[in-house]
């Protein structure tokens, strides 16, 4: 099956700093989603982005499908951004999301 790797596995930021999270995948996909799992365990859907670039406030994401990677940008980080960020992909002709291992982000005040 498809492999999904996220980097870095852990990240500590000072409030106000910017960061880039990366997601590499091993095969063609027709669905790519970025999630934020908050400290209460809820999965918040950030972006549905199988290709192209999207922005939502301080967050933006870019997927280069031909090169099999996606990037999540967090600007002016806040303590509420802390948690785990997951990338998940669905293969072409597939029905399931395959999740990466996540990036654990801690933003310090």
């Amino acid at each position: 099956g498809i492999q999904v790797e996220q980097s870095p596995p852990d990240l500590i930021l000072q409030e106000g700093a910017n960061s880039t999270l990366r997601c590499n995948f091993s095969d063609s996909v027709n669905n790519l989603q970025w999630f934020h799992q908050n400290p209460w365990g809820q999965l918040i859907n950030l972006f549905y982005i199988p290709s192209g670039t999207k922005q939502n406030g301080r967050l933006s994401a870019t997927t280069v499908a031909t090169e099999r990677y996606s990037l999540l940008y967090i600007s002016s980080s806040q303590t509420t951004d802390s948690g785990v960020y997951f990338c998940a992909v669905e293969e072409n002709a597939g029905n399931m999301l395959t999740f990466g291992g996540g990036t654990r982000l801690m933003v310090k005040p």
Binding site: N30, N31, F35, Q42, L43, Y48, M96, L97, F99
Partner: protein, 114 residues
Amino acid sequence: NAGVTQTPKFRILKIGQSMTLQCAQDMNHNYMYWYRQDPGMGLKLIYYSVGAGITDKGEVPNGYNVSRSTTEDFPLRLELAAPSQTSVYFCASRSGQYYNQPQHFGDGTRLSIL
């Protein structure tokens, strides 16, 4: 807009007991999914359904059963609870009308088997 609703939110079971995790969606989505998340890990697919009456196994189906009698509901059954099934369970749904659509997740059920 309720979206995907999971009940209960928390549950403690004894080894060997059985229970059903409930999942309901009000978006008229054809596709529904059950995932489990072990501590410090990403989610893994247990079972999925592409419509009422149709279910299929995912990556980790052992120890679980599902049914899909209506479009709205997709319950997950644990028959003989084992400590290895201690996990957080997420239900998700997706529209089947268009091929490329995001999955929408519920808030999860935290299950402990003691």
